[in-house]
C-alpha cells in the first residue's frame, strides 16, 4: 500500500499547498470556474499541438498548452475592468464553451490523440512518478516565493479591488501576474491530476476554511490542513474499498463539504424545525410506498439490509424459510465462487498447474454456478416484491398518516 500510494499522496500534498492558496483568491474574486475554463483552453492548446505533429505527452505539447492558457489568462485580466458591462463569469463561461467546441473541431482533423486528451482531463494521480512530483515542487515553489514577495498588492487586488481603483494600471498589472501564474499552475496540475481533482483542490479546502474561520492567514492554514487530511482519507478509501483513486479523493472532498453543510444546518435547528423536517420526510417516503409499492424504494431496501425484520415481518413463515434458504445458498455460492475464482486466476497466471481440459471445465463450472446464483437472486427479488404489497398498508400508510398529522399539528401551532 505504502509503495503504491506514497507518490500520489505527496502529489496531493503539493497540489493542496498551491491550490488552497489560489482557491482563497479565486473565491474572493468570485471566479470559481476560471480553473475549468483555463484547463479547457490548455486542452485546446494540446489539440493544436497534436495537429502540428507533436505527440500529446511531449514537451512541445506542454508549451503549446501553456501558451494557450496564458493567452486565456491575459484575456481574463483584460476583461476584469469591464465587469459592470459584461460579468467576468460570463467571459469565463464563453471561453470554456468555445475552447471545448474548438478542441472538438481540431481533434476531428487529428483523431489520434483524442483518447489522450480525454485521459489528461480525467487525470491519473495513481500513476504519478517521482520526477513529476519533483518538477511540481520546483515550479510551485518558485510561484509561491513570487506570491510571498508580492503578497501585499496581490492580496489587495483580489480581496479589496475597490481600494486599488485609484491606480487602475497597477491593478491591471497585478491581475496579469495573478492570472498568468494561475494559468501556469492549472496547466501543470491538470496534467497530473485531471480537471475534477484540480477543481476540488482549488475550491473545497479554501471554501470550507472560509466557512469555519474569517482571518485570512488562519484560513490558509486551515485549508492546507483540510486538503492534506482529505487527500489522505480519499487515498485510504480508494485502497480499502477498491475505488479509482482520483474520483475517490474528489468524493472525500464532497463528503467533507456535505458534513460541514449539515453541521451548519444542524446548529440552526430548533426542535420544531426538526419535527417539521422529520414529518416532511415521512410523507415524502410514505406516499410513494402507498401509491406505487412495486417501484424501486431504495431507502426501504437499505433499511431492510440493516434490519431484515422490516421485510420478514411482512412475510409468511414459509416465505421466510424460502428467504433464509436463498440467502444461505447465495452465501455458499459466493464463497465457492470466490475460492474457485481465485483458483481459476492462479491457473490462468500459471501459478497452479492444471490440465487444459480440467481448466476449461473449471471455467464452465464457474459460469454455470453464477447463473444458478442469479436464480436465487430472483427468488429474493420476488419475495421483496411480495413483502412490498404488505408493507404498502402496514408501513407506508402509517408513515404517511403520522407525517401528515405531525406536520398539521406543528404548522397549526404557529398560526
Amino acid at each position: 500500500m505504502i509503495e503504491l500510494l506514497l507518490w500520489p499522496l505527496l502529489a496531493g500534498l503539493v497540489l493542496t499547498s498551491i491550490h488552497a492558496y489560489f482557491g482563497l483568491h479565486v473565491l474572493a474574486r468570485g471566479v470559481v470556474f476560471v480553473d475549468l475554463s483555463l484547463a479547457q483552453v490548455a486542452a485546446l492548446g494540446l489539440t493544436v499541438a497534436i495537429l502540428a505533429g507533436h505527440p500529446v505527452h511531449s514537451e512541445a505539447a506542454y508549451w503549446y498548452a501553456l501558451a494557450f492558457a496564458i493567452a486565456g489568462a491575459i484575456l481574463f485580466a483584460t476583461a476584469r475592468p469591464y465587469e459592470s458591462s459584461l460579468p467576468q463569469e460570463a467571459v469565463i463561461g464563453i471561453v470554456y464553451a468555445v475552447s471545448a467546441a474548438l478542441a472538438v473541431i481540431v481533434l476531428d482533423r487529428a483523431p489520434l490523440g483524442a483518447e489522450h486528451i480525454k485521459q489528461i482531463l480525467i487525470g491519473s494521480i495513481l500513476t504519478v512518478t517521482p520526477s513529476d512530483v519533483g518538477l511540481l515542487v520546483l515550479l510551485y515553489g518558485a510561484i509561491g516565493v513570487l506570491h510571498f514577495v508580492c503578497r501585499r498588492p496581490l492580496t489587495e487586488v483580489s480581496f479589496h479591488p475597490q481600494l486599488v481603483t485609484s491606480l487602475p494600471r497597477g491593478a491591471f498589472v497585478w491581475d496579469i501576474v495573478f492570472y498568468v501564474s494561475f494559468a501556469l499552475v492549472v496547466t501543470s496540475s491538470v496534467r497530473i491530476a485531471g480537471v475534477l481533482l484540480v477543481f476540488s483542490y482549488l475550491i473545497v479546502p479554501a471554501g470550507l476554511a472560509g466557512v469555519l474561520v474569517s482571518d485570512l492567514r488562519r484560513r490558509l492554514m486551515l485549508a492546507w490542513g483540510l486538503g492534506a487530511l482529505l487527500t489522505a482519507l480519499g487515498l485510504y478509501a480508494s485502497w480499502s474499498w477498491d475505488l479509482p483513486t482520483g474520483p475517490a479523493i474528489v468524493t472525500a472532498f464532497g463528503a467533507a463539504t456535505a458534513l460541514v453543510g449539515l453541521g451548519a444546518v444542524a446548529r440552526q435547528l430548533t426542535r420544531r424545525r426538526a419535527g417539521i423536517v422529520a414529518c416532511g420526510l415521512a410523507i415524502f417516503i410514505g406516499l410513494p410506498l402507498v401509491a406505487f409499492p412495486q417501484v424501486d424504494q431504495p431507502w426501504l431496501d437499505a433499511l431492510e439490509d440493516m434490519a431484515p425484520v422490516l421485510q420478514t415481518g411482512f412475510l409468511t413463515s414459509s416465505e421466510r424459510a424460502t428467504r433464509t434458504e436463498a440467502i444461505e445458498s447465495i452465501e455458499r455460492a459466493r464463497a465457492e465462487l470466490a475460492r474457485l475464482g481465485a483458483l481459476n486466476q492462479d491457473v490462468q497466471w500459471g501459478k497452479v498447474e492444471m490440465e487444459p481440459e480440467k481448466a476449461e471445465r473449471l471455467r464452465q463450472y464457474l459460469m454455470g454456478k453464477s447463473e444458478i446464483s442469479a436464480g436465487d437472486q430472483l427468488v429474493l427479488r420476488h419475495l421483496r416484491s411480495t413483502a412490498r404489497e404488505h408493507q404498502r398498508f402496514g408501513l407506508g400508510l402509517p408513515l404517511f398518516i403520522a407525517g401528515g398529522c405531525g406536520l398539521y399539528a406543528l404548522l397549526r401551532r404557529v398560526s
Binding site: T127, P244, W349, M367, A374
Partner: protein
C-alpha cells in the same frame, strides 16, 4: 461525307461493345459504407474495382466515441450497402436510422469469445461488451466468415456478378492463408507466452497465435484501475514472472509506464485497426517478434 458518318458510328459501336455484357446500370460502382477501416479493406478484397467503399472511421479513431458528420450522413443515406462490426461495437450506429439501405452485420457467423458475463460478480473485473468481445477481426482466420457475409450482401445486390465476387474472395483468402502460415511460423516461439494487456481487445489475436492473456490492466476503458487492483496485478506479474505487456495506441501512457516499471515488463503497442487488412497483421507480427520475450 456519308462514309465518314458510317465510319464514326461504327467506331462508336465498337468502343461500346466491351461494356455491353455488363448492361448499362451495373456499370455503375456499388457504393458501400463501412464502419471501420478493416471492414473497408475486406469489402474491397471481395468487391474489387466494382465497389466504391468509404469507411466512416479512420484506424486511429475510437469507434466507441465517434461522431458522425453531415457529409458522412449523406453518403450513408446514398449507400447501396452498409457493412458494420455489429454487437455493441458502434453504439452510435443505432441512432443513424436509414432502414432503406441493406446492412451487413459482419459479426453474424463469427465464433465469438467471452460471450458469458457472470451475473453474480465475485470480483470487479468483468469486461464491457454485453454480447461478447467485439474485436473479432483481429483473428485473421475470421476474415473467412466476415468476407462470406460481405459476399452474401453484395451478391444480393448484383446476382449477376456473384461469380466474380467469389473469385475475388477466394484469391484474397488464399493469399491471406499463405501469410497466416508465415505469421504463425514467426510467432511459433512465443506460443504459450503469458502477456498482460491494457485493454481487452486482443482476445482473438492471442487465441490465434497462442499467446496467453492473463489479465487486463484497465478492464473498463477510460476508468483507471484502483490501487488495490494495480497492486494485485504487480504482485501476480512478479510471482508468475509475466514479462510482457500489450498496449493499444489509445492506452494511457502513464499506466503503461507504471506497469513496465513496477511490474517489470516490456511493453509493445499493437495496432487494433488498419487501412490494409493484411498489412495490419504484418505490422503487428513484426512488432511482436521484435519486442516479445518468450516464456
Amino acid at each position: 461525307m456519308r462514309r465518314a458518318f458510317y465510319a464514326r458510328t461504327f467506331a462508336l459501336a465498337l468502343t461500346a461493345l466491351p461494356a455491353a455484357p455488363h448492361g448499362g446500370l451495373s456499370q455503375e460502382k456499388i457504393r458501400v459504407v463501412t464502419t471501420s477501416a478493416d471492414l473497408k479493406s475486406l469489402a474491397e478484397a471481395v468487391g474489387g474495382d466494382r465497389l466504391q467503399v468509404e469507411s466512416l472511421t479512420t484506424p486511429e479513431q475510437d469507434p466507441h466515441t465517434f461522431e458522425v458528420k453531415p457529409a458522412q450522413l449523406t453518403r450513408l443515406r446514398n449507400a447501396s450497402l452498409i457493412v458494420r462490426i455489429g454487437l455493441d461495437h458502434e453504439p452510435w450506429f443505432a441512432r443513424l436510422s436509414s432502414p432503406t439501405v441493406p446492412v451487413v452485420d459482419a459479426s453474424k457467423s463469427v465464433r465469438l469469445l467471452q460471450t458469458a458475463i457472470p451475473r453474480l460478480r465475485v470480483e470487479r473485473r468483468a469486461h464491457v461488451h454485453a454480447f461478447g468481445n467485439t474485436h473479432y477481426w483481429l483473428d485473421p482466420r475470421n476474415a473467412q466468415p466476415i468476407t462470406a457475409s460481405i459476399l452474401a450482401g453484395l451478391a444480393a445486390l448484383r446476382p449477376g456478378e456473384k461469380a466474380a465476387f467469389e473469385a475475388n474472395r477466394d484469391r484474397f483468402l488464399s493469399r491471406l492463408e499463405e501469410r497466416i502460415a508465415a505469421w504463425e511460423k514467426t510467432l511459433e516461439r512465443f506460443r504459450g507466452t503469458k502477456v498482460v494487456v491494457v485493454h481487452d481487445s486482443w482476445a482473438y489475436f492471442a487465441d490465434r497465435f497462442g499467446l496467453q492473456i492473463v489479465a487486463a490492466a484497465e478492464p473498463h476503458p477510460g476508468i483507471p484501475p484502483s490501487p488495490a487492483e494495480l497492486a494485485m496485478l504487480f504482485k501476480r506479474m512478479r510471482e508468475s514472472n509475466v514479462r510482457n505487456l500489450i498496449a493499444d495506441p489509445h492506452a494511457n501512457p502513464a499506466l503503461v509506464q507504471q506497469i513496465t516499471a513496477k511490474g517489470g515488463a516490456r511493453a509493445v503497442t499493437l495496432l487494433p485497426s488498419g487501412t490494409d487488412y493484411i498489412a495490419l497483421f504484418e505490422e503487428n507480427v513484426k512488432r511482436l517478434s521484435a519486442t516479445l520475450d518468450p516464456d
